[in-house]
Symmetry: C2
Subunit: 345 residues, 2 copies
């Protein structure tokens, strides 16, 4: 009888524990979803559908071609800058400097920081002022921009056309084999669409209650309750256009001349892999993630987050560090006598 009593007590305790731990977690998952947070789906078919672009359908050959072009420095006038120079896949998809440095060592004239290419597919708009609707359109910009890769559409096409291996690959990907600047950017866009980094947070949102630590769950609660989620939502935890700042001026607003889009809206950066993409904000003036969280509380939410809250949010953000796709470094086609020469001037 004594034994039975003990067992029953144990069951009662276990039930309580189970209730105390799991029920609120399920509620937390529901709360996160209701607040607008969505997972990168673990279902591959679902994910493929999500990242695909009907106007530029994904194919293995196109992704492989796009990867080569993404890493190809011959797509810059100088021959030494590639997409990967500023959106380095080894360092969180960014260059790790405040303002991008490009052709002839030009700093970005607006003192704009290079956003990460990882998970950029989930953003509703591209560029800090959201002027581009998708990755394919975006990719056309920096290649031509004078302070970035500084090449003309014509020279970019002539460079690629001059290399027989590229000609062959374009034939494989695009029926008629025509090499156009748009197709160069489309191929790069296709590759970029595959650069998604599922994290433990996605497992959590999909129902795995143990995917986050208690500290991270607490952080998620703070993140939602304090209102961060009102801008940082969706799969990207960002990627839409919002006013910035809303309540108080941004303390480094005088660095660079960026004022947002025509309505003063600024693209909300993704928070995925945010621990790897310092420095922060459109002008890259803040190196500390804690300071960035603090500033966001002040400028956007009009609240003074205390140290405990800041640390708590930071704990949650760490759970957004995702698994990078494995990328085999490409062997690029060789130049020929017809390849327009690099020009560093």
């Amino acid at each position: 009888m004594k034994k039975l009593k003990l067992s029953l007590s144990l069951i009662a305790i276990l039930s309580t524990l189970s209730y105390a731990e799991s029920e609120p977690v399920n509620l937390m998952i529901e709360k996160a979803k209701s607040a607008g947070l969505s997972p990168i789906p673990s279902d591959k078919q679902k994910l493929k559908k999500l990242i695909d672009n009907p106007k530029n359908p994904l194919s293995d050959a196109k992704i492989e071609l796009g990867k080569k072009l993404y890493f190809d420095p011959r797509l810059s006038k100088s021959g030494i800058i590639s997409c990967n120079t500023c959106h380095n896949l080894a360092t969180g998809g960014v260059d790790g400097v405040s303002a991008a440095i490009g052709h002839k060592w030009s700093a970005n004239p607006h003192h704009l920081n290079s956003p990460t290419v990882y998970n950029a597919v989930f953003a509703k708009k591209q560029f800090w002022d959201g002027r581009s609707p998708d990755l394919e359109d975006q990719a056309q910009g920096p290649i031509q921009a004078e302070p970035e890769m500084a090449i003309s559409k014509e020279m970019a096409v002539d460079r690629i056309k001059s290399m027989p291996e590229y000609v062959k690959e374009f034939k494989e990907v695009y029926k008629d084999g025509n090499i156009t600047f748009k197709r160069i950017a489309d191929s790069i866009g296709a590759f970029e669409r595959t650069l998604v980094t599922p994290s433990r947070f996605d497992k959590f949102l999909e129902g795995n209650q143990n995917a986050l630590t208690d500290e991270e769950k607490e952080g998620l609660k703070t993140f939602i309750d304090k209102g961060c989620v009102s801008c940082h939502n969706g799969i990207a935890l960002g990627g839409t256009m919002k006013p910035f700042p809303t309540v108080k001026p941004y303390k480094y607003a005088n660095i660079g001349d960026f004022k947002g889009d025509k309505n003063g809206l600024v693209k909300v950066p993704t928070l995925r892999n945010i621990t790897q993409t310092a420095p922060y904000f459109h002008n890259g003036m803040v190196w500390s993630l804690k300071e960035a969280i603090k500033i966001m509380g002040e400028t956007q939410l009009g609240i003074e987050l205390n140290d405990k809250e800041i640390n708590s949010i930071k704990n949650f953000l760490k759970s957004l560090d995702g698994k990078k796709p494995k990328i085999v470094y490409p062997t690029l086609p060789s130049v020929t006598k017809d390849t327009p020469k690099p020009d560093a001037n």
Copy 2:
């Protein structure tokens, strides 16, 4: 009887054919070896012994660490230039420009062309003036050089030390875990030692008579008979110090101030993957491989190679295009609050 006669004739013909084709080829292999040409061994143990450095023994962990450092732009003052910027593994191990461009868009002050890192392990000396005995020593140079990566030893060490993942890897590779500038370069050197590219020519030298086409065999004969092999020999088909020019002045000698080592000797570049490493010569003034072959005949051998001979040699050189090792692009450690900031000035 008629049948037997025919068969015997057929055997006789086949024997003749066999003699006509294989015997000279075997002789050609012997001739190539006698002339000082050596294969990259297909035997992995033999190769490992050949590329290893007793003072910096290879290990998988060291090679992996070295790969990360090789691709890490934080080893430059600006934070945006890595070893791979000028010795790009995607483009034949070079940057494809005449003179290297580095920190603050500085052109190499001596107008020197970046040599390929592929198969550099087989060179007897490093740098165009041969001032460095091995890859580990070489790697220390460009990282510090003002017009290249422009970082001080101290800042390089501070950057690496500030990233916990690197600290962990150094502990795995070096017993005491000390992070020193020498060990950074040693690790990079270890990785570079693995960048060898066996080609069809190696199969041929190891006895596979069909590994080269008839045109390539003819080209090899021309290469040997005309005397190219007197400098371009060994496994690297280069990599030793020789006088340049010997007979006639080099037509672009006035570009840059490079005069060789104290004895006027210049490192003979490897010919492996030469079709991928234009532009040619120490000052990168020649874009056409055919022109480079012609100039070599004039300046070094005092002969006018005709078009047939030039094409023949070029055919052989194509057989030196090798198989690149598969390199998974690394995910690099993230910076921390202690990481010295990038400095573009």
